[in-house]
Subunit: 154 residues, 2 copies
DNA sequence: TTTTTAGTTTACAACTTAATAAACTATATA
DNA sequence: TATATAGTTTATTAAGTTGTAAACTAAAAA
């Protein structure tokens, strides 16, 4: 594949990643910045390079970069005697992705337990359904722990 | 717990569920309708009852109910010779929740593979990181399949 | 046939979010 | 000290979303 062709496809994926994060409640620029930092061959971008690549204002870049940094999606390195920040994605432990999901699912379980506790008829159709879900989540949790062990021993 | 106390707590959970769905990109009314159909002892509500309980316009109810039905979160039953619709949550196979997540995670894997394919340096920091994630997702998939088997045999 | 009921559609107002331009601040360089 | 650079903050505009009232449609009841 020629270099220009690759670049074109990379830019397309940036837009796709933009949409992906858009759907999950991020603002469009946030998704594009993450995309840029993920797909390009260059893996560090300065503030200025980001505004130029994505054609966005300094203000938007400033606000979104701060948000992404607070969320822990990106980070920057600095060099003393150089005021620029070199942004890159945070290459955290890949497990954290699953931990994040695990947390969400446990909060759903908690909510269902609360709902069940307040039900007058513990055997109604909804009650039975929610009980099944709670049960399923518990079993899932055990399996996820096994999965983590298996991965670490690999 | 007294009946009124229970009712009060149920209404509080409806608001909580509202916020939960709100955060996930649903409009506030959608979350509250789902909450209503989930937590109340009464497990079927007519269009009119929903507008009254939640104090919302017929128009909002109409639009949101249609959206939730298309998404497959709720459904309604009818009785011939009665024009009313009796709405209730869709008590689908609880596994579908996990299947939904599984699908999402596989689309993430696909995206990462696309990114990797376009990388000039397959051993860069980002490339290595994405490779690790892709690997992790593959192992996760196997474990989820075991989990499903285990649950079905229970 | 006329009226009532059940829900839909349309047009619009209120609000929220996203993004920008321009003014500003703080650090480094000349 | 003066100037340039790097990024932040503020005020504002543009665009999109949410929800309503009111007009409408279609089916059932009188």
């Amino acid at each position: 594949m020629k270099s220009e062709e690759r670049l074109l496809k990379q830019k397309q994926i940036i837009e796709e990643i933009g949409k992906f994060f858009d759907k999950r409640g991020f603002q469009p620029i946030a998704g594009r910045i993450l995309g840029l930092l993920m797909v390009m061959d260059k893996e560090q971008f300065t503030f200025e390079e980001i505004t130029e690549e994505l054609q966005i204002s300094k203000s938007s870049a400033s606000n979104v970069l701060r948000m992404l940094e607070i969320r822990g999606d990106i980070e920057y390195t600095t060099i003393s005697g150089d005021r620029k920040r070199y942004y890159h994605i945070k290459r955290q432990n890949a497990f954290e992705m699953f931990d994040e999901f695990e947390k969400q699912i446990l909060s759903i379980k908690k909510l269902f337990l609360q709902i069940l506790e307040l039900k007058e008829d513990k055997n109604s159709l909804n009650s039975s359904f929610f009980n099944e879900i709670v049960n399923l989540i518990s079993i899932h949790k055990e399996h996820i722990q096994e999965f983590k062990k298996a991965y670490k021993n690999n």
